[in-house]
Every structure is written in structure tokens, then in C-alpha cells.
Amino acid sequence: MTIKGKAYIAGAFEHPTRLAPDKTVAQLHAEVALGALEDAGLTRADVDGYFCSGDAPGPGPASMAEYMNLKLRHMDSTEIGGASYIALAAHAAEAIALGKCDVALVTLAGRPRSEGMATGTAPRPRDPNQPEAAWEAPYAITTANGYAMCAMRHMYEYGTTSEQLAWVKVAASHHAQHNPHAMLPEVVTVEDVVNSPMIADPLHRLDCCVISDGGGAVVLVRPEIAKTLRRPLVKIVGAGEAVKHLAGGTFDLTTSGASRAGPIAFAEAGVTPADIKYASIYDSFTITVIIQLEDLGFCAKGAGGKFVADGNLISGVGKLPFNTDGGGLCNNHPANRGSMTKMIEAVRQLRGEAHAAVQVKDCDLALAQGTGFQLATRHGSATLIMERE
């Protein structure tokens, strides 16, 4: 059993807002849902499967299903942080392949910017029933701290430099200059990044993603339905997911869950990293991109710093164009979760609808990669490979 070719992404929509003090989270979910359905040429009445995660208000899918007045016969509210939306798209493809639903809606939305949330630099509240809480919470680890510890170890083991990390941000900024919605559209240099204030050693301010409101949605459908719609055909060909954790204390912080999710996705798709024309790679911090690129096999473990240097991720310049919308580092990071917007930009690339300045020529095979929760402790990882038909 495979999902290869069993489902198509027929609709995709990214909310244009980056600051939404006058909207509710439920409203943003509904707006992105309607946007993605309109993009597909479908309506709410066509939706029989709904997929959401921890950002959706209310427990699981019930509250949003009611708000949007959906009549569902299949639903899923997998929570692996920011990686959830790629995993949910894969779960939607699985459900479609099994005949459990025909039109699957996946939504993400949130307002951390309006709510004044110190996303990366303040400890997040934890449920005391989480078994690790007693052993970690007292030390008040922050998101930036954790990812920074991974970067520090990567530097120690492989000689990765701050300048190499900076190239990830430089490439993202080259793309963001063409995105009218990007929060940070200015092109920056390696010097700008390494001279920006230190947030958590060795990560500088410009190594960190933005905090934004907003959201996004995708609609997946059966092949027979996709072929009746007006949009270019974007087919799911492979997916993988994993949870990586500290494994009783036997861990390696230079490796992410992508080292397991990626090979599963490539095997299902029957392709290799060399076949990928465009990659959306989750970029909470610059180090997140380097570690995932290695884990996915775009380069050897430890060679990620060298791989991203000298503009290798810039569309039209380097070998692997990435995050051509500017990514989380420059464009947006709605609900502090990245994989929905990663998927959406990959769909744009496959449709030939990315900005002309960053559109990859003959882009027929793309990958989207998400990481959720904390790279340094336990996190979800999800990989999706899509093909233009």
C-alpha cells in the first residue's frame, strides 16, 4: 500500500496577513480554508475530511468543524508541532487512498505576534504530567537555547561556522525581496547576520525566524476529482514522518528526525535527493536548515555548512533553490509553525506560480520538510515529496 499518486494537492492558500490584532484564530482558520477551497474551485460543501493540529482552537477538530459548519466523515488532529501539516497532508492522502474521504482540508492559523508571545526567548509553559517536565522545566530552556545547543555541537563536531549558518539567512533574504508580503524583504549579507546581536550562542538575531500572525491551508483530493479542476496537477508521491527524542540519554544533537522521515519519503516516491528541483526546508533557525539538509541526504552529515555557503540555496544561483518565499527567516511563521507555508511554496513552484524572479525552471519534483517542537529534546519531523503531472 502506498500513497504515491493516490491524492493531489488541488488547492493552496497562504493568508496575506502578518499582523492580525482584529481577527480571531478561528476566523483566520476559516479564511485560509475558504481561500484554499476557492483556489481549488471547490466549496465547503465538498469537504468530507478535515485535518488540523494544536493551533486549531478547541480540542481536536470539533470546534473548527462547527465554526465552518463542515459535515465530515473523516478527521485527524495529529500534533507534532510545526511538522504537523506535512504529516496531516500525508494522512489525508492515506485517507483518500483508502476511500475514507474525497476532499480533505488541512488548516493552520495563529496570532503569536498580536498576542505578544516571546516565541523563542521565553520558556514555554508545560503540562506537569509531561514525564520530562520535572527534569527540564526548572532550567527554563527556551526554544532559541535548544536549537542553539544543536548548533554549538554541530560546530564542535564538524567545524561549522557562523558565516556558514549566515548563508542560509542570506539566501532566504534574496528570495524575500520579491515577496510583497514578506516581513523582512531587505537583502542581508553574511556580515549583517554575524554582526547582529547574539540571542543564544551561537545564534544571532538574524539566525532566528520571524514571529508573525497568519496561516495557510491546502486541499487534497482524489485523482478523479483533481482532473476535473482547473488547477495544475500536483501529485503526492511520497511521505515520511518520525519523532526523534533523547532516547533514554543516548542522543546525537547534530541529527534530526528528518534522518528517518526523509528516507521513508524518498523510498515511497522512488526518487533520490539529486532528483529534487526545489526544496522547502523548515527554518526556525539557520541551523535547522543545515541539519535537515544533511539528514535528507542533500549532502553528507557534517557537510551542511559547506553546502549552504556561497549562495548554493539561492534560486537561479545555487544547486538547491530553497524557501523561495523567504521562509520563516524572512517571510512569515504563522502560529510558530512552519510546515504549512513550506508545503504551499512547494506547490507554487510545481505550478509555475512562484514569483518570476525565484521560479525554478522545469520544476516538476519538489520536497517539503518540517520540524516541530524542540530540536534539542524531542521533536516531530515530516517529509513530503510532490510531483507536477
Binding site: A137, A151, M198, I199, D201, P202, G248
Partner: protein, 77 residues
């Protein structure tokens, strides 16, 4: 030389699985959990061994020696 602001750390939530550790810590002893079935130490402490699923986990006093694996100092909050 950087100046670090003193920060107030919240006391740990002491659960049934962690009580022996924190009782010993209060007396200045650092205990680590070791499975009596497979003789492996694990962290964080739990009642079920993550390696062999053994349910008889004992406490052993640690030497107190170790190697720093990685670190990061939060500069901006």
C-alpha cells in the same frame, strides 16, 4: 566578561517517579536510575527502563564526573 542576571528558577514538580531523586538531592547526593535487569543507566529517570522495559529500576549514586556535551547561554530575553 559577560554579566549574567540572576534568574529565579521554578522548583521541580516532584512526581512519584522522581521523589527518591529529589529526596537524595536535598541531602547533596546525585542519584541516577539504573535498570536491575539490563544494568543500564538512563535519563531522565523513569519507572520503566527505556532500553529493556524492565520495571525494577534502582538508584545508584553518581560519581559526579561528566563531560559537557553542548551549551548555550541565553543573551537576549
Amino acid at each position: 566578561m559577560a554579566v549574567f542576571a540572576a534568574r529565579k528558577l521554578a522548583p521541580p514538580v516532584v512526581t512519584a517517579e522522581g521523589k527518591a531523586f529529589f529526596d537524595a538531592a536535598r541531602q547533596g547526593r546525585f542519584l541516577i536510575p539504573v535498570c536491575t535487569a539490563c544494568d543500564r543507566a538512563h535519563w531522565y529517570p523513569r519507572a520503566v527502563c527505556p532500553f529493556c522495559a524492565g520495571e525494577d529500576v534502582a538508584w545508584r549514586e553518581a560519581s559526579g564526573k561528566g563531560t559537557v556535551y553542548t551549551f548555550s547561554v541565553m543573551r537576549r530575553v
